[in-house]
């Protein structure tokens, strides 16, 4: 049984805690948050210990795993300290805000001999995992033009940290890094990036970006990220190849659509639902894979190096948005 410490008791922290609690090999032993109330409330759910100080928590020798779901700027400190304390580390995406930080975190975990996994959870979403399998099976021939889209309204967060585009990197860093990682995982390395976005525009609580990626394979991807959609969270995917085309959007494939009569007689629509059985939940699968890697002494399912490569694409996109020029990715 692994004892897990969750750092960051926000939405993602609560989500992770629920899955660690449900998985047979792990339990939530500690919750840390700089907001004492938030730490206490989440800790109480799992009869775990609430902490406000990371050194104090890491001194607890019974803790095996540290799972980090803080805002991105705090990832580095948490990962470095957890690795130094010999804990296995799960860190939400993006790994960091700079390549140097991401590499330093990766190196620290390797030197400490702990498993380090970064939460590019899209790889565990069944629609994206299935699309990758179809590509590999040759269902569409050689992949040519790919289109992805992701986003909804501006994300709510403690301290409104997403509004600081320097800290969060805006939609291009925080949201599109999901698609960048999935695209790189499915299509190989990216060689050139061009993008337009609202990064530098004075648009409070709004961000939008359209990014073009050129892959070493010759394929091209159009990646849309939005925090300006008032009508709910939407994702879509289209992969056009020499022998066929794969298309997906979350609205059309949602099996449950709801509408209720409002008090004034007007209809009220609710968000469409697309449930999966508990064992197919992408976050459950992701964390189960993490625990398996620890148990078996195997490689991290999504390594720090992978996360740094995804970060490179986000940073190149942000650089292109800023400079107005295409950015070559070197490695």
């Amino acid at each position: 049984m692994f004892n897990v410490a969750v750092i960051g008791a926000g939405m993602m922290g609560s989500l992770h805690a629920g899955h660690y609690d449900a998985l047979p090999d792990s339990r939530v032993a500690a919750v840390l948050d700089v907001r004492p109330d938030a730490a206490r409330v989440l800790a109480e759910v799992y009869s775990a210990t609430a902490y406000g100080d990371i050194e104090e928590m890491l001194a607890d020798g019974s803790i095996d795993i540290v799972s980090i779901t803080t805002p991105t700027p705090y990832h580095k400190e948490c990962v470095l300290k957890a690795a130094a304390a010999g804990k296995h580390v799960f860190c939400e995406k993006p790994i960091a805000t700079t390549l140097e930080d991401g590499l330093e975190m990766t190196d620290a975990c390797r030197r400490a001999g702990v498993v380090f996994m970064v939460g590019h959870v899209l790889r565990y979403f069944p629609e994206y995992a299935s699309a990758k399998r179809l590509i590999e099976d040759g269902a569409v021939g050689k992949v040519g033009m790919v289109r992805t889209s992701r986003g909804g309204s501006f994300p709510q967060s403690a301290g409104d940290w997403y509004a600081d585009k320097v800290k969060s990197g805006g939609v291009t860093m925080d949201t599109l890094i999901h698609d960048f990682d999935w695209l790189r995982w499915s299509l190989g390395e990216v060689v050139r990036v061009y993008g337009k976005g609202l990064l530098e525009r004075a648009a409070e609580h709004k961000d939008y970006a359209l990014i073009t990626l050129r892959f070493a394979s010759g394929a091209v991807a159009h990646v849309e990220g939005t925090w300006m959609r008032p009508d709910g969270f939407k994702t879509s995917l289209e992969i056009a190849g020499s022998k066929g085309l794969i298309a997906f959007n979350n609205e059309d494939s949602a099996p449950i659509k709801l509408a209720f009569a409002g008090s004034d007689g007007a209809g009220v629509e609710a968000v469409p639902q697309s449930p999966l059985s508990a064992e197919d939940d992408p976050y459950r699968l992701e964390l189960a894979d993490f625990l398996t890697a620890i148990k078996s002494g195997g490689e991290s399912p999504i390594s720090g190096e992978d996360a740094v490569e995804a970060l490179k694409i986000s940073l190149a996109a942000l650089e292109s948005i800023t400079t107005g020029q295409p950015v070559e990715i070197r490695r």
Partner: protein, 325 residues
């Protein structure tokens, strides 16, 4: 009666335009001229009109207007003949394969005092026109970005021979949306970045294009021009635009009014469209122009502005950098 002639059926849209002309009681479709006799005779017969084996002979018939649906590279030559005969012109898009020819066409028509219209039928889609009012009405706030596609299937024939078409998917599928974005917003394109490739077919012309267009009002747009629809796709392609504003999002998918048709006859699934015929809107408007003194609703300059976006895209593909329009 408005006397109209058809110059060449090389472009497949000619059939649609001729059918619309035939439905208007005030129009007399005088004839079809085409150097390809088989094609020309078939078109004349299908539209209950006469076949002319020379453009000159057709143009001697005291025409009010002509519809030019030749290969793109011959638009200048056709325009010169029609202008000399004093006929107003409806010219298929793109206006030409290059900007110099397009400017000559505009100048020739101005000198000859004939009116030159570019055929951009998408302006006559009721959905496209309605969303223009939404975008211009202000509820969207400031439009900061547009995500657009004009997908299609690889058309084959002279469309993939650059000496006739001017290129491939980029020149074929940039101009419709480039025109609509100008028409919607009044903004002019100032810079284009493009990636392209031949990804789906074994041929010389590009069948994939992805443009990022910057506008003089700060707006940016992407446009996927790819002939990326496989043969098994249920419809030919799309014209789709999504406008992202500070006050909301509005999208228009111009050709989705359809029935799903599943047929065991040959084990196919396809769309059977039931939307309004946009060619009819274009032709009705052009015939109205011919019977009045007004300027065409879509000018040669409009055609040139849209072409310039495609040409900048080709320069960007060549240089690997954003290129001024």
């Amino acid at each position: 009666m408005i006397r109209v002639g058809m110059m060449s059926f090389a472009h497949m849209h000619a059939g649609g335009y001729a059918a619309c002309l035939g439905k208007l009681p005030q129009v007399e479709l005088v004839g079809v001229a085409d150097e390809n006799e088989t094609r020309g005779r078939a078109a004349a017969e299908a539209n209950n009109t006469d076949y002319y084996d020379s453009y000159d002979n057709l143009l001697k018939q005291n025409l009010d207007g002509v519809v030019i649906c030749s290969e793109n590279s011959r638009h200048l030559e056709m325009t010169g003949m029609a202008a000399a005969a004093g006929a107003d012109i409806l010219c298929e898009k793109p206006i030409s394969t290059n900007a110099a020819d397009a400017r000559k066409m505009i100048d020739i028509c101005r000198s000859a005092k004939v009116r030159l219209q570019t055929a951009f039928p998408c302006r006559f889609s009721p959905a496209v026109a309605q969303v223009r009012e939404v975008v211009r009405g202000g509820r969207l706030g400031e439009v900061v970005a547009v995500k657009a596609t004009n997908h299609g299937r690889m058309p084959g024939g002279w469309f993939v021979e650059p000496q006739f078409s001017g290129g491939g998917a980029i020149i074929d599928h940039t101009v419709h949306v480039a025109d609509l974005l100008r028409w919607y917003t009044g903004a002019e394109a100032v810079e284009v970045y493009a990636e392209s490739g031949t990804m789906f077919n074994d041929m010389k012309a590009e069948d994939a294009g992805l443009l990022t267009i910057s506008y003089d009002n700060g707006m940016f747009a992407t446009l996927d021009t790819s002939w990326s629809r496989p043969k098994s796709f249920p419809t030919w392609g799309d014209v789709y635009m999504e406008f992202v504003g500070t006050g909301g999002v509005v999208s228009v998918d111009a050709f989705v009014q359809h029935l799903d048709l599943y047929s065991d006859e040959n084990m196919t699934y396809g769309w059977s469209g039931w939307g309004s015929n946009i060619d009819m809107g274009l032709i009705r408007d052009w015939v109205d122009c011919l019977s009045s003194d007004r300027e065409p609703s879509i000018t040669g300059e409009d055609g040139l502005r849209a072409l310039e976006v495609a040409l900048a895209a080709y320069r960007s593909v060549g240089s690997g950098k954003p290129e001024p329009v």
